[in-house]
């Protein structure tokens, strides 16, 4: 049954990733995102119904949930034509991570979860939602740097291949981080509560996540503008990637 949702979702995400590469087909890309996200939502719902406990407790399962959150966040406003290049960065990443989740067994149905604790559900859900927000913020910051460079270089085709304005990109990235950081904070608090109850030390993934929290907190406190702000957001995202991909095995 899971196959019936996984493959349509993967194909639709893949179609979106390809379609966004051409302005003529970006409308098809948007439909790919919508259809894929609905199929993945059905897959997650199926996983949630069939499992006893929290269905995405493995690193691969959490990756599956993470992809859904990233695409869902992108769907809120990212499907507009001017954000096509953001789709070009987000959707291929979504396809790769979704495939990785499948290879790791994160898209299977009916596996028994060894987690059922409500704090853990909050911890994983909130941290992943925050990471999804930071991924979008990083995409926006990357677009900012591209557009800023084109304006500085006075590229003649700047009005033919239009991106959102610098001010819009900066504002959206800041807002996304402002929403995501409280989620990360709550997720970390939930994790620490569980850590205190069950004992245990701080591992490398937790260290990277706390460092990312520090970077984003500094971002919101200092509110750097222009390239500095974009670079800081990308630095925070580098830590998210380290935590999410490189160190995932050390935590689960």
């Amino acid at each position: 049954m899971a196959e019936a949702f996984f493959w349509p979702a993967l194909v639709a995400y893949g179609e979106a990733a390809l379609a966004y590469s051409s302005p003529r087909f970006s409308g098809l890309g948007t439909w790919g995102v919508r259809v894929g996200w609905l199929a993945q939502t059905a897959l997650l719902a199926l996983q949630a119904v069939r499992v006893d406990g929290f269905p995405w407790s493995s690193w691969a399962g959490s990756l599956n949930l993470f992809v859904w959150l990233v695409v869902g966040t992108y769907l809120i406003w990212g499907c507009r034509p001017r954000f096509r290049l953001l789709g070009l960065t987000v959707m291929p990443l979504a396809v790769v991570l979704f495939l990785a989740a499948r290879i790791g067994g994160g898209t299977a149905v009916g596996e028994r979860s060894h987690y059922g604790n409500v704090f853990l559900v909050l911890h994983v859900g909130l941290v992943l939602a925050a990471f999804a927000g930071f991924t979008l913020a990083a995409g926006l910051s990357g677009l900012y740097l591209v557009e800023e460079r084109r304006l500085k270089r006075r590229a003649a085709d700047i009005l033919r291949l239009r991106l959102p304005s610098l001010v819009t990109l900066e504002r959206l990235a800041t807002r996304t981080i402002a929403v995501s950081l409280p989620l990360l904070t709550l997720g970390l608090v939930a994790g620490f509560v569980r850590l205190r109850d069950r004992g245990g030390g701080v591992d490398a993934l937790m260290g990277a996540t706390i460092a990312a929290w520090g970077v984003y907190a500094a971002f919101l406190a200092l509110r750097p503008t222009g390239r500095t702000g974009a670079h800081l957001a990308l630095a925070g995202f580098a830590l998210v990637i380290v935590a999410r991909v490189a160190l995932a095995g050390s935590h689960f």
């Binding site: 500085k152 001010v167 819009t168």
Partner: protein, 398 residues
């Protein structure tokens, strides 16, 4: 029904001639009514009369009367499909001076609404208007600016997004600066200051924009209070240097330098958060966007070709529709006649016979009807219609 077009445009007539033939909307509509079933489209670039089966020499004579001279050498006359394709290209903006300009679509709609033509022209103009909207929705032909002032404003939007509330410092009160400032103002920016060598000219332009007039010496002090600097003076050297730009800014500062020699030191463009476009940069952007419009125009021409085909099919179907209608009417007449000869039948029996004969008739006529409509699009359409009329004696008295 024949579609005819008589007109002149910027392609064939100089402005001195076009302005004599140009008509305001109400006079264009009354000319159309005088000519019968017609629509008169009159803009600064063209005056065209579209006629449904009317007398085109009367239309030409009317235009010549307005021009005060013979127009046979310059006026174009197009018919049927060629006339329809011309109208489609006009409403798509493909026949305009700047390809893709959007004003023409509104002008076509206004001319159509004012003329209130008969069903034939109604169908053609509605098709043209729908195509015009489709071209603008499905291609990017009208999206890019086609002039330096419009490009300057569009670039400012690339930095700030919505320009509402953005403050502009205009340096120089010349014509080109005024045009660029107008373009920014039209997009919501506020012209906050006007600095000019001549205080009188500066004050006059400032009053027009509701801005404050300042001297050229005040320009560095005002840089911290604005988002966009528009420089367009005739000064012989740079008026704004890198050292004049406030160092600690939280917002970008966009410089548009359309002066030659340049008013803004190129070093300003290298400062963090500062973006500088001079006249060459802006002209390069305009050239690039115009070439983009031409590329989009090719896509728009494909849409025009599709509509032309649809027009051709529709018009051809008009040729065979009377023959089809006559054939069906004749068959129905025969059926009714034969039914009347039937003797006494019960109500149920009569209903059954009527139903069966109607079905036989429909099945017999279905294929010839479809084939005639298909053939109508090709060169043999009229011959088919004639053959049907002859074979079934449709033109003869029953």
């Amino acid at each position: 029904m024949r579609l005819s077009l008589v007109g002149i445009s910027h392609h064939v007539a100089p402005v001195e001639l076009r302005e004599r033939v140009a008509l305001p909307l109400d006079r264009a509509a009354s000319l159309a009514r005088r000519l019968g079933d017609a629509v008169c489209l009159s803009t600064c670039n063209r005056t065209e009369v579209y006629l449904a089966g009317g007398d085109e020499s009367r239309a030409l004579a009317s235009l010549e009367e307005l021009a005060g001279e013979p127009l046979r050498a310059v006026a174009y006359r197009l018919h049927d499909e060629a006339a329809a394709v011309h109208l489609f290209r006009v409403s798509a903006g493909l026949d305009s001076l700047v390809p893709g300009e959007s004003e023409i679509l509104g002008q076509v709609r206004a001319a159509f609404d004012a003329a209130r033509p008969g069903p034939f022209l109604d169908r053609v103009f509605r098709q043209a208007l729908a195509l015009g909207k489709r071209v603008r929705a499905e291609t990017a032909i009208g999206e890019s600016p086609a002039s330096v002032p419009a490009a300057a404003a569009a670039l400012a939007q690339q930095v700030f997004g919505d320009l509402a509330g953005r403050r502009v410092l205009l340096v120089g009160a010349g014509r080109i600066g005024e045009l660029a400032a107008g373009s920014l103002s039209a997009r919501g920016a506020a012209i906050a200051f006007v600095a000019n060598r001549s205080p009188e000219a500066g004050a006059a332009l400032a009053a027009r924009f509701g801005a404050e007039a300042v001297s050229l010496g005040d320009v560095p002090a005002k840089l911290g209070e604005v988002d966009v600097v528009l420089a367009a003076t005739g000064a012989s050297g740079a008026l704004i240097g890198a050292g004049d730009v406030p160092a600690r800014r939280r917002h970008p500062l966009f410089f548009i330098d359309i002066a030659v020699p340049r008013d803004v030191d190129p070093a300003v463009g290298a400062l963090e958060g500062c973006y500088l476009y001079d006249i060459d940069d802006l002209e390069a952007v305009v050239a690039e966007t115009l070439s983009g419009r031409r590329a989009e125009a090719e896509r728009a021409e494909q849409l025009v070709a599709l509509e032309a085909q649809r027009f051709k099919e529709w018009r051809a179907s008009l040729e065979v529709v009377p023959a089809i209608a006559s054939l069906r009417a004749r068959a129905e007449e025969i059926r009714a006649g034969e039914l009347a000869k039937l003797g006494a039948l019960s109500e149920d029996e009569r209903r059954t016979v009527e139903s069966v004969t109607a079905q036989i008739l429909n099945k017999l006529l279905h294929l010839p009807t479809v084939r005639m409509k298909e053939a109508a699009v090709g060169p043999d359409g009229a011959r088919y219609a004639h053959a049907v009329r002859h074979l079934f004696g449709l033109d003869e008295e029953p």
